[in-house]
Protein backbone atom coordinates (compact mmCIF):
# COMPACT_ATOMS: atom_id res chain seq x y z
CA UNK A 1 0.00 0.00 0.00
CA UNK A 2 1.38 3.44 -0.93
CA UNK A 3 0.70 6.25 1.50
CA UNK A 4 1.14 9.91 0.65
CA UNK A 5 0.90 12.13 3.70
CA UNK A 6 2.24 15.52 2.65
CA UNK A 7 -0.53 17.27 4.53
CA UNK A 8 -2.38 15.59 7.42
CA UNK A 9 -5.68 16.92 6.07
CA UNK A 10 -4.92 15.58 2.60
CA UNK A 11 -4.45 11.83 2.82
CA UNK A 12 -4.16 9.41 -0.05
CA UNK A 13 -3.62 5.68 -0.29
CA UNK A 14 -3.40 3.51 -3.37
CA UNK A 15 -3.17 -0.22 -3.94
CA UNK A 16 -3.40 -2.49 -6.96
CA UNK A 17 -5.11 -5.84 -7.29
CA UNK A 18 -5.25 -8.65 -9.80
CA UNK A 19 -8.44 -8.27 -11.88
CA UNK A 20 -10.32 -11.27 -10.47
CA UNK A 21 -13.50 -11.80 -8.47
CA UNK A 22 -11.29 -13.39 -5.79
CA UNK A 23 -9.61 -9.98 -5.33
CA UNK A 24 -12.82 -8.31 -4.18
CA UNK A 25 -12.32 -9.36 -0.56
CA UNK A 26 -8.85 -7.78 -0.69
CA UNK A 27 -10.34 -4.59 -2.13
CA UNK A 28 -12.77 -4.49 0.80
CA UNK A 29 -10.02 -5.15 3.36
CA UNK A 30 -7.88 -2.37 1.89
CA UNK A 31 -10.84 0.03 1.92
CA UNK A 32 -11.77 -0.78 5.53
CA UNK A 33 -8.17 -0.34 6.61
CA UNK A 34 -7.92 3.05 4.88
CA UNK A 35 -11.25 4.32 6.24
CA UNK A 36 -10.19 3.37 9.74
CA UNK A 37 -6.93 5.24 9.25
CA UNK A 38 -8.79 8.25 7.82
CA UNK A 39 -11.20 8.09 10.77
CA UNK A 40 -14.26 7.99 8.52
CA UNK A 41 -17.55 7.77 10.43
CA UNK A 42 -18.32 4.11 11.16
CA UNK A 43 -21.88 4.24 9.74
CA UNK A 44 -20.57 5.56 6.46
CA UNK A 45 -17.63 3.15 6.19
CA UNK A 46 -19.52 0.04 5.15
CA UNK A 47 -21.58 1.97 2.60
CA UNK A 48 -18.38 3.29 1.05
CA UNK A 49 -16.87 -0.21 1.10
CA UNK A 50 -19.94 -1.45 -0.79
CA UNK A 51 -19.64 1.32 -3.41
CA UNK A 52 -15.93 0.56 -3.89
CA UNK A 53 -16.52 -3.19 -4.13
CA UNK A 54 -19.31 -2.67 -6.67
CA UNK A 55 -17.09 -0.47 -8.84
CA UNK A 56 -14.27 -3.03 -8.65
CA UNK A 57 -16.76 -5.78 -9.46
CA UNK A 58 -17.85 -3.83 -12.56
CA UNK A 59 -14.23 -3.80 -13.75
CA UNK A 60 -14.01 -7.59 -13.35
CA UNK A 61 -17.47 -8.24 -14.86
CA UNK A 62 -17.58 -5.71 -17.66
CA UNK A 63 -14.17 -4.24 -18.56
CA UNK A 64 -12.62 -7.73 -18.47
CA UNK A 65 -15.73 -9.70 -19.46
CA UNK A 66 -13.89 -11.60 -22.21
CA UNK A 67 -10.64 -12.01 -20.26
CA UNK A 68 -11.38 -14.00 -17.09
CA UNK A 69 -7.77 -15.22 -16.84
CA UNK A 70 -6.11 -11.85 -17.30
CA UNK A 71 -2.97 -11.09 -15.36
CA UNK A 72 -3.75 -7.34 -15.53
CA UNK A 73 -4.06 -5.40 -12.33
CA UNK A 74 -6.53 -2.67 -11.36
CA UNK A 75 -5.70 0.11 -8.91
CA UNK A 76 -7.84 1.80 -6.27
CA UNK A 77 -6.84 5.17 -4.80
CA UNK A 78 -8.68 6.62 -1.82
CA UNK A 79 -8.01 10.29 -1.06
CA UNK A 80 -9.45 12.47 1.65
CA UNK A 81 -9.22 16.22 2.01
CA UNK A 82 -11.10 16.23 5.28
CA UNK A 83 -14.20 17.61 3.60
CA UNK A 84 -14.41 15.30 0.64
CA UNK A 85 -13.51 11.75 -0.15
CA UNK A 86 -12.38 10.84 -3.66
CA UNK A 87 -12.12 7.24 -4.76
CA UNK A 88 -10.42 6.57 -8.09
CA UNK A 89 -10.26 3.32 -10.02
CA UNK A 90 -7.80 2.56 -12.79
CA UNK A 91 -7.91 -0.35 -15.20
CA UNK A 92 -6.62 -1.43 -18.60
CA UNK A 93 -9.77 -3.25 -19.73
CA UNK A 94 -12.29 -2.54 -22.45
CA UNK A 95 -13.02 1.21 -22.64
CA UNK A 96 -16.17 2.08 -20.75
CA UNK A 97 -19.03 3.42 -22.87
CA UNK A 98 -20.62 5.75 -20.36
CA UNK A 99 -23.97 5.77 -22.19
CA UNK A 100 -24.22 2.01 -21.60
CA UNK A 101 -23.62 2.25 -17.85
CA UNK A 102 -27.14 2.02 -16.45
CA UNK A 103 -28.80 0.27 -13.56
CA UNK A 104 -32.06 -1.60 -14.03
CA UNK A 105 -35.35 0.05 -13.11
CA UNK A 106 -35.53 -0.47 -9.38
CA UNK A 107 -39.17 -1.61 -9.45
CA UNK A 108 -38.42 -4.19 -12.16
CA UNK A 109 -37.34 -6.82 -9.67
CA UNK A 110 -34.93 -9.28 -11.25
CA UNK A 111 -31.41 -10.48 -10.59
CA UNK A 112 -28.59 -8.18 -11.67
CA UNK A 113 -28.25 -4.50 -12.52
CA UNK A 114 -28.01 -3.21 -8.95
CA UNK A 115 -24.29 -2.51 -8.58
CA UNK A 116 -24.40 0.84 -10.38
CA UNK A 117 -27.58 1.75 -8.50
CA UNK A 118 -25.82 1.16 -5.17
CA UNK A 119 -22.87 3.30 -6.27
CA UNK A 120 -25.24 6.12 -7.28
CA UNK A 121 -27.16 5.86 -4.01
CA UNK A 122 -24.03 6.02 -1.88
CA UNK A 123 -21.78 8.47 -3.70
CA UNK A 124 -22.35 12.14 -4.62
CA UNK A 125 -20.73 12.03 -8.04
CA UNK A 126 -19.54 9.48 -10.57
CA UNK A 127 -17.20 10.48 -13.40
CA UNK A 128 -15.76 8.29 -16.12
CA UNK A 129 -12.49 9.57 -17.52
CA UNK A 130 -10.00 8.31 -20.01
CA UNK A 131 -7.07 6.93 -18.02
CA UNK A 132 -3.58 8.37 -18.33
CA UNK A 133 -1.20 5.80 -19.81
CA UNK A 134 -0.92 2.92 -19.08
CA UNK A 135 -4.51 3.00 -17.85
CA UNK A 136 -7.52 2.84 -20.19
CA UNK A 137 -10.33 3.65 -17.76
CA UNK A 138 -10.37 5.97 -14.77
CA UNK A 139 -13.56 6.09 -12.72
CA UNK A 140 -13.74 8.78 -10.06
CA UNK A 141 -16.31 8.69 -7.25
CA UNK A 142 -16.68 11.49 -4.72
CA UNK A 143 -18.52 11.89 -1.45
CA UNK A 144 -18.80 14.98 0.73
CA UNK A 145 -18.00 14.27 4.37
Amino acid sequence: MNTEVADPTNLSEKKDFLVRSSSLKDVRSFSREVFEKFKIDEDLREELVLAIAEAAQNIVKHAYKDYPDTQDRMAVRISCTGKELEIAFFDKGKPVEESKVKHRAIDDVKPGGLGTFFIQEIMDSIKFKEGDKPWINNLVLTKKL
Binding site: S21, S22, L24, K25, R28, E46, E47, V49, L50, A53, E54, Q57, V60, K61, I106, D107, V109, K110, P111, G112, L114, G115, F117, F118, E121
Partner: protein, 99 residues
Protein backbone atom coordinates in the same frame (compact mmCIF):
# COMPACT_ATOMS: atom_id res chain seq x y z
CA UNK B 1 -18.41 -18.50 2.96
CA UNK B 2 -19.37 -21.73 4.69
CA UNK B 3 -22.83 -23.19 5.10
CA UNK B 4 -24.85 -25.70 7.07
CA UNK B 5 -28.21 -27.21 6.14
CA UNK B 6 -30.73 -28.67 8.55
CA UNK B 7 -33.97 -30.41 7.58
CA UNK B 8 -37.29 -30.55 9.36
CA UNK B 9 -40.18 -32.03 7.40
CA UNK B 10 -40.60 -30.21 4.12
CA UNK B 11 -38.47 -27.27 5.25
CA UNK B 12 -34.72 -26.95 4.93
CA UNK B 13 -32.82 -24.26 6.78
CA UNK B 14 -29.65 -23.01 5.15
CA UNK B 15 -27.20 -21.19 7.41
CA UNK B 16 -24.76 -19.06 5.41
CA UNK B 17 -21.92 -17.11 6.91
CA UNK B 18 -19.11 -14.73 6.04
CA UNK B 19 -19.20 -12.24 3.20
CA UNK B 20 -21.25 -12.96 0.09
CA UNK B 21 -19.89 -11.35 -3.04
CA UNK B 22 -19.50 -12.21 -6.73
CA UNK B 23 -16.90 -14.80 -5.83
CA UNK B 24 -19.26 -16.67 -3.50
CA UNK B 25 -22.59 -16.55 -5.30
CA UNK B 26 -22.17 -19.76 -7.29
CA UNK B 27 -21.51 -21.64 -4.04
CA UNK B 28 -24.64 -20.15 -2.47
CA UNK B 29 -26.78 -21.07 -5.49
CA UNK B 30 -25.41 -24.62 -5.48
CA UNK B 31 -26.73 -25.02 -1.94
CA UNK B 32 -30.08 -23.22 -2.23
CA UNK B 33 -31.38 -24.02 -5.73
CA UNK B 34 -31.44 -27.86 -5.48
CA UNK B 35 -33.51 -27.59 -2.30
CA UNK B 36 -36.07 -25.38 -4.04
CA UNK B 37 -36.01 -27.64 -7.11
CA UNK B 38 -36.76 -30.57 -4.81
CA UNK B 39 -39.92 -28.76 -3.68
CA UNK B 40 -38.64 -27.82 -0.22
CA UNK B 41 -39.54 -24.65 1.62
CA UNK B 42 -36.27 -22.93 2.43
CA UNK B 43 -35.38 -20.81 5.43
CA UNK B 44 -32.26 -18.84 4.66
CA UNK B 45 -30.57 -17.84 7.90
CA UNK B 46 -28.28 -14.85 7.37
CA UNK B 47 -27.47 -14.03 11.00
CA UNK B 48 -23.78 -14.71 10.38
CA UNK B 49 -23.52 -12.95 7.02
CA UNK B 50 -21.88 -9.60 7.72
CA UNK B 51 -21.59 -8.35 4.16
CA UNK B 52 -23.54 -8.82 0.96
CA UNK B 53 -23.11 -6.98 -2.33
CA UNK B 54 -25.35 -6.74 -5.41
CA UNK B 55 -24.33 -10.25 -6.48
CA UNK B 56 -25.54 -11.65 -3.16
CA UNK B 57 -28.77 -9.66 -3.47
CA UNK B 58 -29.25 -11.21 -6.92
CA UNK B 59 -29.04 -14.67 -5.34
CA UNK B 60 -31.80 -13.67 -2.89
CA UNK B 61 -34.01 -12.40 -5.74
CA UNK B 62 -33.33 -15.44 -7.91
CA UNK B 63 -34.04 -17.83 -5.02
CA UNK B 64 -37.24 -15.97 -4.13
CA UNK B 65 -38.46 -16.06 -7.73
CA UNK B 66 -37.48 -19.72 -8.14
CA UNK B 67 -39.44 -20.61 -5.00
CA UNK B 68 -42.50 -18.78 -6.35
CA UNK B 69 -42.24 -20.67 -9.63
CA UNK B 70 -41.96 -24.00 -7.82
CA UNK B 71 -44.81 -23.20 -5.43
CA UNK B 72 -42.55 -23.32 -2.37
CA UNK B 73 -41.51 -20.54 -0.02
CA UNK B 74 -38.20 -18.89 0.69
CA UNK B 75 -38.01 -17.08 4.02
CA UNK B 76 -34.96 -14.98 4.83
CA UNK B 77 -34.34 -15.07 8.56
CA UNK B 78 -32.27 -13.19 11.12
CA UNK B 79 -30.77 -10.72 8.69
CA UNK B 80 -27.84 -8.80 10.15
CA UNK B 81 -28.14 -5.02 10.35
CA UNK B 82 -25.54 -4.48 7.64
CA UNK B 83 -27.20 -6.84 5.16
CA UNK B 84 -30.67 -5.42 5.93
CA UNK B 85 -29.32 -2.00 5.01
CA UNK B 86 -28.35 -3.33 1.56
CA UNK B 87 -31.70 -5.10 1.10
CA UNK B 88 -33.44 -1.82 1.95
CA UNK B 89 -31.19 0.14 -0.39
CA UNK B 90 -32.36 -2.23 -3.15
CA UNK B 91 -35.97 -1.56 -2.00
CA UNK B 92 -36.59 -5.27 -1.55
CA UNK B 93 -37.79 -5.35 2.05
CA UNK B 94 -41.42 -5.53 0.89
CA UNK B 95 -40.70 -8.04 -1.88
CA UNK B 96 -38.60 -10.67 -0.12
CA UNK B 97 -40.03 -12.66 2.80
CA UNK B 98 -38.02 -11.36 5.75
CA UNK B 99 -38.46 -12.64 9.30
Amino acid sequence: MTYKVTDEGDTSTVFLDGEIDMDKTEGAKEVIFPLIDAGKNVNLNLSNVQYMDSSGISVLIESHQKALEKGTKLIIKDVSKSVLKVIMMAKLEQILNLE
